[in-house]
Symmetry: C2
Subunit: 343 residues, 2 copies
């Protein structure tokens, strides 16, 4: 199987992308990685490493996309970028999946432009996986769409369910709608309407949940608009950092602080490891007609490796075909008469 990696995407590219690719081909025997980017930079990095040479290919791409580039400008003017060249390889059937830690807006827009949507999908969505007190939770949409409708939310729920079930291995994912109260009458216009649609599916829909319940581990898929999902994701990331900093500050200020910190250091390390985004690799762009994963801009080599492995699982399972089939049972006309079994 061939997976394309945007070798130039992310804060630490191309060092961590090259290293991540090398580690991946060492780990999984039937994977080939195509590194897309400036070959004069990539070749020297590869040459000084030891790995099965035939399993990492380089495809040249010269345009550089910066993290603050305007999406439409980047798409119009930077046709030889690693993102575009990479997704073209997917489109032409030269690879089965694409991974990028680069500009997520450009990845989404390029994927939509070149690959299009899975049949029946109104809007693709980002499914972000986050750690909780017990296991993981999938947040969908984590930022692909703003101003979504109830029908979009229904589709996010269906796609998120398939992801949780098929890729993360949860047998009957508990799907919940993010709102401001548990009762079906609580929420805004869109979520109240979405609640009704979700009730009439064969999903294991557990109703509305509030923000405080996301991380407690009682739900597997949290459905929301991408504007809200992105804010939740970033609030969580920012708050986790701030809490650790505040705690460290308090520890530094007590007499027994230095010793306490020394003794608890391994625990902080374990905590950081368990809550580290890099363990989750990347967030799939669900509903795109091709497997595309977005990794964190700060990705390490390990995060890249985990993203490539996740992409491998997606491609292996022919995930998109399954989603197409599943979604087709919930077109607006048929929403109240689901047939067959879920993914």
């Amino acid at each position: 199987m061939r997976i394309v990696l945007d070798a130039m995407g992310g804060d630490n590219a191309p060092y961590v992308t090259v290293e991540g690719a090398i580690e991946t081909v060492k780990d999984i025997s039937d994977i080939q990685v195509i590194l897309v980017g400036r070959q004069e930079v990539l070749h020297p990095l590869l040459e000084r490493s030891t790995y099965p040479k035939e399993r990492i290919l380089v495809v040249n791409a010269t345009d550089e996309i910066k993290m603050d580039d305007d999406v439409s400008y980047a798409i119009r003017k930077k046709k030889d970028s690693s993102i575009r060249r990479g997704i073209e390889l997917l489109k032409n059937g030269d690879a089965q999946a694409f991974v990028s830690a680069g500009h997520s807006g450009v990845v989404m827009a390029t994927a939509l432009l070149l690959l299009g949507k899975v049949r029946g999908v109104k809007r693709p969505a980002i499914a972000a996986t986050m750690p909780t007190l017990k296991g993981k939770v999938v947040l969908i949409d984590a930022g692909a769409n703003v101003d979504t409708t109830a029908e979009h939310l229904l589709q996010f729920a269906l796609m998120g369910n398939s992801f949780s079930k098929g890729i993360l291995g949860i047998s009957s994912p508990r799907v919940a709608l993010l709102s401001i109260g548990e009762e079906d009458t609580k929420g805004n216009e869109v979520t109240k309407e979405a609640f009704k649609l979700l009730k009439n599916t064969d999903l294991n829909f557990i109703g509305n949940i509030e923000g405080k319940d996301i991380f407690r581990g009682g739900v597997d898929v949290v459905v929301c608009d991408g504007f809200i999902g992105n804010i939740v994701l970033k609030v969580s990331e920012g708050l986790a950092e701030v809490i650790l900093k505040m705690l460290k500050r308090e520890i530094a200020e007590i007499v027994t602080g230095r010793l306490a910190y020394l003794l608890m250091k391994p625990a902080i390390k374990n905590f950081k490891k368990k809550t580290d985004y890099s363990e989750y690799g990347g967030a799939p762009l669900l509903g795109i007609n091709g497997t595309c994963l977005i990794s964190h801009g700060r990705s390490t080599a390990k995060a890249i490796k985990n993203a490539l492995k996740l992409a491998y699982r997606f491609a292996q399972q022919n995930f998109n075909a399954t989603v197409t089939d599943y979604l087709s049972r919930y077109t607006p006309e048929r929403v109240s008469t689901p047939v067959g079994t879920a993914f």
Copy 2:
């Protein structure tokens, strides 16, 4: 000055409400607290305590509002509730402020029904104060409104600014719009429109901020729709709890854990104290024609006391009159020509 306290509101009422009232009148000499609730419960609690008797009054109210009561049902059917009787006292001029740790939806709806809005205000909003790495931040709206417009967000910003300046003492509050990217082109339809309106005010508007920046301490007032604000508030509350639990679990699992925990315990206590909601007392309902504060359902006596003190500051400053004046300068016709100085 007289402040009404909903003696029956909150998980630990009436014990903590009575205690909070007693501590308040002991602390501030020119305050009278009117406890509204079932007098046969309140009188015995008061009788066994020592305090300046003439400074706590009891007004009887017999209906009980439960936390899961439907708002419109509670308003129609429970006319002798402590919330309604309390707000009536405010309306009739028998008191200058109202505090409740009870059903926030019923408090809002009753306040709106009996007191109405400050002149010029389209929608009242909840201003929640939260701890950050450096100082405090005000989140407005924290849950009074869903499906808000750009003009509503503008008014939330103006009211939040007045609160930060007048009550919290920040000389030039940095006001930001919560969005999914810093550029003015990022956001949903409503926030993009609100960005334009906010740019044309005399506010110290620092632009969009992302979720990760709320708790870093670089902003004083964060403006958002109430659906989103409520989710942010609850995510933060839930995540802080979960992070502490996960850390404790990790500490318990290492060899040096028991000793480390023992040594760091005072630091955890200090951290909890600094991030404790009860330090902030309550969240004012801005834009209501009367001072109403909503306290956390889990309020302790200390939280009640702090809420009463905050209510005292509001009433002392004649906050609503100032807000009326300030908002009148930004009615839609005049939004681009502010005159005079801000509150």
